[in-house]
Amino acid sequence: MLLDDFLVRAALAGLGVALAAAPLGCLVVWRRMAYFGDATAHAAVLGVALALGFGLSVFTGVLVVALAMALTVSALSGRGQAMDTMLGVLAHSAIAVGLVAVSFLHGVRLDLMAYLFGDILAVGKADLAVIWGGAALVLVLVVWRWQALLTATLSPDLAYASGLDPKREQMVLTVALALVVAVAIKVVGALLIAAMLIVPAAAARPFAATPERMAVMAAVIGGVSALGGLQMSLIFDTPTGPSIVCVAAAIFALSSLAGAIRRTV
């Protein structure tokens, strides 16, 4: 069967994450929430530690902790400290606490690198089901709320005037973000999840005239990066997660260059 090939499973896992991360990544970029994504993703390490400590599935542990982190950030935003300072504190504290928590896990054999940088080649059929299930859920959520999310992103006041509640939309985004983190940790790892959100979206920007086109292009770029990174790691024997992000970064560089040339011509 097709799914018996670990490469096919890896490719499908990468595509699933790319697809879910694309529209969400665009929203993260538009709303200047890049560090928010980072903080949520870094919290995943703590999630892994707790999941293993309490005997839960990694998906559940990561989802719960990422959600808690995202809600904390949402609740704290706009109080006292500047947003980037607070996210810096939370993002790095989360990963530090996570690493310390992992060190308490005696008797559990844990390949920390796999959670920090992903282990896409080890994706099993069950993992694949979780990844595609989560990705589908994220897509449904984002597509369903798309118009409202976009209006609230453009201007909370415009949203209020239209009878929408920007806070509710922010909550939708928060939940979707936690879901993406939970499904992506196996693929690119906690440290690089934010890259899968932001890099394809940023690379799509110079060639998109509407939000939808940017999201679709980000999905395509994310998909190409996933497949290209997989290929690259096979040829050069490099770690797969970082290879995927390298390809995405290269596409971003080319796209920025092309955008700059187009502006000057």
């Binding site: 970029v29 538009w30 200047r32 118009q147 409202a148 976009l150 209006t151 992103t153 453009l154 201007s155 909370p156 006041d157 415009l158 949203a159 209020y160 005037a161 239209s162 009878g163 929408l164 979206a201 940023a202 920007r205 998109a208 005239a209 509407t210 939000p211 939808e212 086109r213 940017m214």
Partner: protein, 259 residues
Amino acid sequence: MSLVSLKGVSIRMGGHLALSKVDFAIDRGEIVTVVGPNGSGKSTLMRTIIGAIRPTEGTVTPARGLRIGYVPQRLHIEPPLPMNVRRFLSLPRRVSDREAQAALEQVEATGLDNRPMAGLSGGQFQRVLLARALLTRPDLLILDEATQGLDQQGSAAFYRLIEQLRQELGCAVLMVSHELHVVMAASDRVICLNGHVCCEGAPEHVASAPQYRALFGTGTGGALALYRHEHNHSHDAHCDHGHGPAPDPDHDHDHREAS
């Protein structure tokens, strides 16, 4: 039945009382202008009416199913967000190309469909904001200093457009403005705001009210005279209590008789 009514609304923001015991209502088809110096709570009042700010005290009661078309004071579109005019018009309700075209015609801004919002001139941008507000088929159109950044001719044209739209669409218009000489003529009612409602009434009443003069000086009197054709009515603008010192009265006696 008013479209929206505020009763005893007070709003405290960060320890500062932005609005104090404001009563306000607007009826179907009415044009109401809110004037007041900077920091007098004009935008706060608008944002309370659209539901963006909850009153600390008092109640805001919108009519059932009230549709508001809101034209904000400013709209900054982040550079990472690609947004052309056509797409912008479809927020939050998706509209057909025909509807979008009709709305752009109404505000005299045709042919902009594929232009990025960020590349529009100030006047075009305001017209597109207005077109989007109209596409929500509003019962109440709210304009918060919608002519900021337009020159005098541009804002005069903009206000003529709004008056004309009110006649075509029959929606109520609530606007905030500094440009009294242009705005007041078109208004059924003017509300002078300075943290509380200083005075309100027909434009002529308010313009001659001492509370209004205390806030704005008499410098705009000359320009207002343009619209004061009859002086034989009684000046019974109902005004309330006293006021602090006038913030920087406008002593520029430039009478813009010709416009």
